[in-house]
């Protein structure tokens, strides 16, 4: 099974829950979770900027194979570019399109 987490909230506590859930899915002992992806947009971008509180946690997830996809539309609006993000984060033109695409591929959706 596959899961996509929508990191869309600007609330620090919700961002923390999103990252903790990504970790729990990755470490799941049932052996039923094959892929976990994170799509960040809107306020959720804050959680994946370099130098932020969540950097270590995000890096560890990326190192363990979780793709993080940042919405380029949001980066433009926030006047950020890819170099402001934690290393290893990909960009997609629009986060919501990526979330739609992944659900169409069979990913389950979660918005913590």
């Amino acid at each position: 099974m596959q899961s996509v987490i929508h990191l869309v909230s600007g609330d620090g506590s919700e961002q923390q829950t999103a990252l903790a859930i990504a970790r729990n899915l990755l470490d799941d002992e049932s052996g039923t979770i094959d892929d976990v992806a994170v799509v960040a947009q809107a306020g959720g971008i804050e959680a994946i900027t370099a130098g932020g509180n969540e950097e270590e946690q995000v890096r560890s997830l990326i190192d363990d194979g979780v793709p993080f996809k940042a919405c380029s539309n949001t980066l433009d609006v926030m006047d950020l570019d890819e170099s402001d993000l934690i290393d290893g984060i990909e960009t997609v033109p629009e986060g919501a399109v990526e979330v739609t695409r992944l659900q169409n591929e069979g990913y389950a959706y979660m918005r913590p």
Copy 2:
């Protein structure tokens, strides 16, 4: 592909994100998004009442073909009726049933 946005939050910032995402999906240049729908219920109804801050944005989405569906259960609880909503908004008996129905039809779900 098809996407349904659940406008369920009473938080103004989350409502703004929901409407911005509807717009981004509609304007998406990948050509992969065929339909975008918005289902409003609970606190999300505030964003679609006539005279609210989001009226222009909602009108523009409706004019561009995005169906907005308001939960009649919520309207009853809030003592509102269809005439209190922005012109062009449809009602459904229960928003959550509509969200379920659309997902069953293949719509991807998003709750910004």
Copy 3:
């Protein structure tokens, strides 16, 4: 059709909306909703602890056949065990895995 509600927020108002939506789906008069399940994790666990404000509402949903599934990972982190929860609540090893499993079985997802 089947619906799963992700009770993941620590916000009291969002928890209330989640429980109200579960009730509305259960009482739906369209006759199209066959099953409603609630998966609680992270801040959402507060809404299903014994003695909380929502106890009566949760008990009534359980009595009417809605399965409530609490995330054991969250219980461990919060230093709670099953006896701290409202009677009749089941536990699952990880809430996000259960949410993924249910979506894979065809449940529509909602995060109020």
